[in-house]
Amino acid sequence: MLTEEDEDYFTEPGFHLPGTPISNQMLPSLPPLPMQPQHNHHSEAGSPSSEVQQQEWIAERLEGDSRSVKELPLNLSEKRRIRERQELRMRKMSGWNSWMDRQHRAVQRLWEQTTEAFQYTEMWRGSLHRIEGHFGSGVQSYFSFLRFLVLMNFVTFLLVGGFIVIPNMVFEELQLKINTTSPVTTGNQTCFDYNPKRQGLVQFYEYVMDLLSGTGYMELTYLFYGFYENTAVDLKTFSYNIPLAYLITILFYFLLSLVWTVIRSVNRFKQSLVNEDSSLNNYSNKVFVGWDFCISEEQSVRLKQNSLRYELKMDLEEEALKKRQAAQTKLQCTRVYTLRTIVHLLVLALLGAAFYTIYVATGYSQQLISQDSVVSSNFFLGLLVQYLPSIVITAAITILPIFFNIFSRLEKYSLTWEIKLTLIRCVFLRFASLVILLYSLWTQITCNGQKDESHCKTCGYNNIYPCWETRLGQEMYKLAIFDFLTVLVMILLVDFPRRMIVQHCSCKLIQLWGQQEFQVPSNVLDLIYGQTVCWIGTFFCPLLPLLNTIKYFIIFYLKKMTLLKNCCPAKRTFRASSSNFFFLLVLLFGLALSWVPILYSIFVITPSKACGPFQGQFFIWDTIPNAVEPLPQVTKEFLYFISSQAFLVPIFLLLCILISYLVALANSYGQLVKELKVYMQLEGRDKHFLVKQINRTE
């Protein structure tokens, strides 16, 4: 019945049923195809008994396959029959094999049950389900990202709280603090003058202002760095060095965030890598993968159909545009290029203006706060001065992208390039604003890096800041609060009114403006910005991860509410997969950015003499060598060796070599893939040719 050639033909491994056109045999009615002469005795169409025989024969072949029954592309009754045959075979097996098999199945069942149980503990599963059903997987990726941030902030807060905040609270309660780790000896008396509490008669509104800007009585709470002391607890059985714990916990906090984000991005990277050439499969993707089978409401379905039609039309128009552009004369080309250069310069000019404003505003605000006269006089004026940097940054972040969008249309790039370029500009804007803010604060705190300047000579840092770390923490605290307030205000004062106006007013202009679309990229960038602020601020404000958790938790519900009530699905669907990895990459960049001020503060700037767990030391990093001192000689030498150049430089060189090897490997795989693609096309042509020959001879 089965010839040798048949055996060879069907033993290829690989996804779809061994052998190539065997797929034809799975379908009920099939005409005998000239391409498969060997299958003639199988493919007599029409008679049901031969079809059943075929299917049975196929199923027999598949039993040798290592896949589980559920992954076979057969209908359920077939699968049942295969499974029964497997069971029969199992019973014939020896006792040991059948026992192993039973154990294997039991473990599988247990695993399935535990994963099922875990599914119920997944946070917000129902909400994400609903969002996916109405708006598709693009918008759902935003909320999934938000959930990731909530969880990460919560877990990292447990770390920070457990090792910094809770021990301090416990020691405070039990009155246990005894020794100071570094006696404060050197320094002018003015450096030790630190009294944040308001003196005299304090108006009520000043308390509210203190709450919102982290000054006054708020500085003397666990919220800020300045409240922690440079003491250690040294009992007979238990010792706890607070400064050491503070420093090491913060380092572990960053390590945990890094590891978690990298693990998540590696998963997304695997998906994104496969999607290397999305431009090559643009239309097929839209036609075959464009329909989201999760959408279940008539209105959403209609909107999805509209959006698909819009996308296809846009793609066709873009093709036509490209053809026109390729046929352009030289004059038109030069015109387009000069226009693009002008736009780039304009964008740079706008960015420069925004950065300068942020720099000046921060400096001005810091000076006014130090003077304290304007700030205390009037509630609103005081708040304005305190929040001036945040206001300017938020204004820049909101207004400039509008200009970027307008300019990008002038540049006449292709649509994909346009979107990418605008996105890169927005990312750059946000991170650079933070950098400028930090730079401005740095010039204030360290008097532009000159330790000999009049203000900085006495204490090593600007003496108008008795506790400069707390001041930095306050700025981050204010940024976080203002970010949250912005989201709240935008939803209440922009989204809801817009929907009500569009619904009730039938003026044509308003209808053209239309309902709000949920813009995934700008919302995700907002989240990344907020998370970067949290990372920068945690060293100076240990409770910031907790505040961030609560903030993102509330934002989830706010955004979900505004999405479901005020937004319509976007005209251009957002490709979740290719952008997921990009946004995680931006998040990692934010993490790297946040290390810079922390490491600089730890290694270069003199810690405040009047407050904080590192008072009296020359550098914050000194805690580590001081802690290593009392260790036994062997451990000490080992640790010194690890941190010395003799060890680090070879490791660094080794890593460089490893990276270049991996890059070369990746390149060679890329080449191999290209060659295989060409080979596959040639194969196709050969097959076509041979079929023609066979038909001619027949």
Partner: protein, 187 residues
Amino acid sequence: MGNKQTIFTAKQLDTYQDCTFFTRKEILRLFYRYRDLAPQLVPLDYTSKPDVKIPYELIGSMPELKDNPFRQRIAEVFSADGEGNMTLDDFLDMFSVMSEMAPKDLKAYYAFKIYDFNNDNYICKSDLEKILNKLTRHELTPEEVCLVCEKVIDEADLDNDGKLSLDDFQHMIIRAPDFLSTFHIRI
């Protein structure tokens, strides 16, 4: 929990668990969804393996499917008689393949069958035209439809026969990471 139910024998439930991607609870839940479509047709006792088929009109009225432009093809592909009338086995099979646990290659196989309207094992130009019209509700002009079909065949047809075979389709799907999340029905 599952031991108290009398709809299926333990062996039947085990078989369903092995042959689909669902757990016991989900299988029972799906049975109730199936029964809700036609309570008078579907008995509560499946231990005797009754031969019950729910007609396509009722299947197509399920909330998960009623607005899907491909619901008829989906029902036809998964039903044993090819007309869309589904037994419980077909029903479970369909949602198992469309669930999030099914692997990509299995989904790609069934997606190919769904998109092959004339059942000739190739997605030819007429199939593509039907797909496009269903996707855009006939709102593209015929020239645009023609252009898009040509572009799709250009992009995906590797053996240059003017239509897409299962291999071409799968090769294209491998490079589409969104496929797993879009070719998915939650129930």
